[in-house]
């Protein structure tokens, strides 16, 4: 029989990163599995419990909360609704019998991004612009710094925060300021602000590394590659296992091996990066996947 799945998002599906990724994931799952899907956008903190409850009360079989802030409300109510399976993304909580969580290895993604950025940088300065330091963004940022030093210990990593997930204009200005300070490869995490960073890089003719969502088409001459956070994999796994009956109340941490993160193809930059560097990157990716890198965050 058709399962009913609700995806609860903290932001709008048009943000081009975090929420868009989840929305695309659930769309893909809808094609693949026999499920009925509803997406709830822009769920603010005060509404979370009521939203989760009302889905559970309406008999949804699975409710996916997209973000760590869903963890606590889910834990508070899951026992009342044993018929519903709750899944939390980017958090590490679990409870019998019906709470599982999926977390991607953002730190590893950042590590790869940092390594690529360092290799590509001519100035020896690269930059990261975060929206607000929530855990996943902090992890990515840490990984970015360490990854950068992996190949070029002398690389200088600049970092700044926007103070908002949606302020794209300020995101762009912060990026510009890092570029003024010499950064020639930048990356950004968050929601809409990421687009600000990419635009600033585009206007200043420097390069950027995308996050979460392969958006190379947006700025083909700017985006070297994207440190993918494959939310669609989270969702595919959650839904698929749920339908199979193999989804356990546990935390699933998805790294490279599980395809929870990845590095997008180089596309337009295929010819701008030396074969030697490309080999280094490929080796690093394998090393991370095989657990041979010791300073992953």
């Amino acid at each position: 029989d058709t399962k009913r799945v609700a995806l609860v998002l903290p932001g709008p599906i048009t943000d081009g990163t975090f929420n868009s990724a989840a929305s695309k994931g659930i769309e893909a799952a809808k094609e693949k599995y026999d499920i009925e899907v509803v997406v709830r956008e822009n769920t603010d903190f005060a509404q979370i419990q009521d939203v989760l409850r009302s889905y559970a009360e309406e008999g949804y079989d699975m409710v996916i909360g997209h973000g760590f802030q869903f963890a606590e409300p889910v834990m508070a109510i899951h026992a009342e609704y044993p018929q519903t399976f709750f899944v939390v993304n980017t958090a590490q909580v679990a409870a019998e019998p019906n709470v599982a969580s999926f977390d991607n290895r953002w730190g590893d993604a950042g590590y790869m991004a940092g390594a690529v950025a360092a290799l590509y940088s001519k100035s020896g300065k690269i930059g990261h612009v975060g929206a607000i330091p929530v855990p996943v963004i902090e992890q990515y940022n840490l990984g970015f710094e360490r990854g950068a030093k992996y190949f070029r210990p002398e690389v200088q990593v600049l970092s700044a925060y926007v103070g908002s997930f949606s302020d794209i204009a300020r995101g762009a200005e912060i990026t510009t300021s890092l570029i003024e300070q010499g950064a020639d490869v930048v990356t950004s995490t968050g929601n809409e602000n990421v687009m600000g960073t990419i635009q600033a890089a585009q206007k200043a003719n420097v390069s950027a590394i995308g996050t979460a969502f392969d958006s190379a088409a947006m700025a083909p001459d700017t985006i070297i590659t994207t440190a993918l956070i494959n939310m669609d994999v989270n969702i595919d796994l959650a839904v698929g296992r749920f339908i199979e009956g193999t989804l356990k109340p546990q935390t699933y941490v998805l790294g490279l091996k599980e395809n929870g993160i990845g590095l997008a193809p180089l596309r337009g930059f295929e010819n701008k990066i030396s074969a030697e560097d490309k080999a280094k990157i490929d080796a690093l990716v394998t090393d991370i996947a095989e657990g041979r890198i010791t300073d992953l965050p």
Binding site: P12, T14, D15, G16, S20, K24, G127, P133, L158, S159, A160, Y161, G163, S164, S166, D167, I168, A169, R170, A172, E173, I174, T176, S177, L178, E180, Q181, G182, E192, M195, G196, Q199, S215, A217, M218
Partner: protein, 309 residues
């Protein structure tokens, strides 16, 4: 980095950050001077931002995009005016409704049009000008001669508005409508018509402010991209004591303070970034201790005008 380059970059960034706030603040100055407060600026800016992108993409001309944003901003302003001037309902509540309406219309419109594909569209946005070919002059070049056309238009608008308030009968009529509408009416002035016009034009300014954000500062639209700038614009109006030139100046100070905190942030990574983000706001609070009060607030601001005093 070379100090001169640093200062020039800082000022240029400050101007970019200030321009949309200054534009919206100018329009709001006009509306408030006539006695109507519009807290829904943010909603109008969003609609302006969206329409500018949509029409620029469709016509491949940012100028047509700007015109569309101005027109739609005026329409939103007229809606606010209709409720607050003709129906005489609570202006602040109408403004709040306008805020939601703008968020909704822009987001919905975006999803129905350019946002539908899910992949970004190239926006033919404004490029900074190169006035008299002088924008490459050291230090002052970019700041004085290398801004977006809208920045210069903002200055022209501020000058015109200041002149209007100071030197024309229309300006006096607007001030009278905002200060003591009963007396204005007794002098044979149609207070409601003045207010309708001012609020509508104020909306047009907010529409242009949105267009600046989405087709000059950035090239593209995202939902809620104004991120509180409408409210900052209102603060500017008040801070500037309802004077057009000062409103632009205050917005500029804000922009430069913001551009500065952005730059210090990455220089001092050990200090929590939040302390830098609050710098412009703290600056405003401290400066308030020197500004004096309600000086200049139109006495009838927020009160609908009905005859039978």
């Amino acid at each position: 980095m070379d100090e001169a380059v640093f200062v020039s970059a800082l000022l240029a960034a400050g101007i970019r950050l200030a321009a949309p706030i200054a534009l919206a603040a100018l329009g709001e100055t006009l509306a408030q001077r006539s006695g109507v407060i519009n807290v829904g600026l943010e909603g109008i800016m969003l609609v302006g931002a969206f329409v500018a992108v949509l029409m620029a993409v469709q016509t491949q001309s940012p100028w047509i995009g700007l015109a569309g944003a101005i027109f739609c901003g005026a329409a939103m302003g007229a809606l606010h005016a209709y409720f607050s001037v003709i129906l005489k309902v609570e202006q602040i509540v109408t403004g709040i409704a306008l805020l939601f309406l703008g968020m909704g219309l822009s987001g919905y419109g975006y999803r129905l049009t350019i946002g539908m594909s899910g992949s970004p569209v190239a926006v033919p946005g404004f490029r900074p000008l190169d006035l008299f070919g002088l924008s490459d002059l050291p230090v002052v070049g970019a700041v004085l001669f290398g801004q977006h056309a809208l920045v210069y238009l903002t200055l022209v608008a501020a000058a015109l508005m200041a002149w209007m308030f100071r030197a024309t009968r229309l300006g006096i009529m607007i001030k009278a409508a905002g200060e003591y509408p009963v007396a204005a009416a007794a002098a044979g002035i149609d207070v409601d018509r003045i207010r309708l016009a001012c609020v509508t034009v104020g909306g047009a300014f907010a529409g242009a402010a949105g267009a600046f954000l989405s087709t000059a500062h950035l090239w593209g639209f995202v939902e809620n991209m104004t991120a509180g700038r409408g409210f900052l614009a209102i603060a500017c109006v008040v801070f500037a004591r309802w004077k057009p030139w000062l409103a632009v100046a205050v917005a500029l100070v804000f922009g430069i303070a913001d551009a500065s905190q952005i730059r210090i942030q990455s220089v001092l990574p050990m200090v929590p970034y939040q302390f830098f983000v609050i710098v412009p706001y703290m600056l405003a609070i401290v400066a308030l201790a020197f500004g004096s009060g309600r000086n200049g607030m139109p006495a009838a601001l927020g009160t609908p005008f009905t005859r039978h005093s």
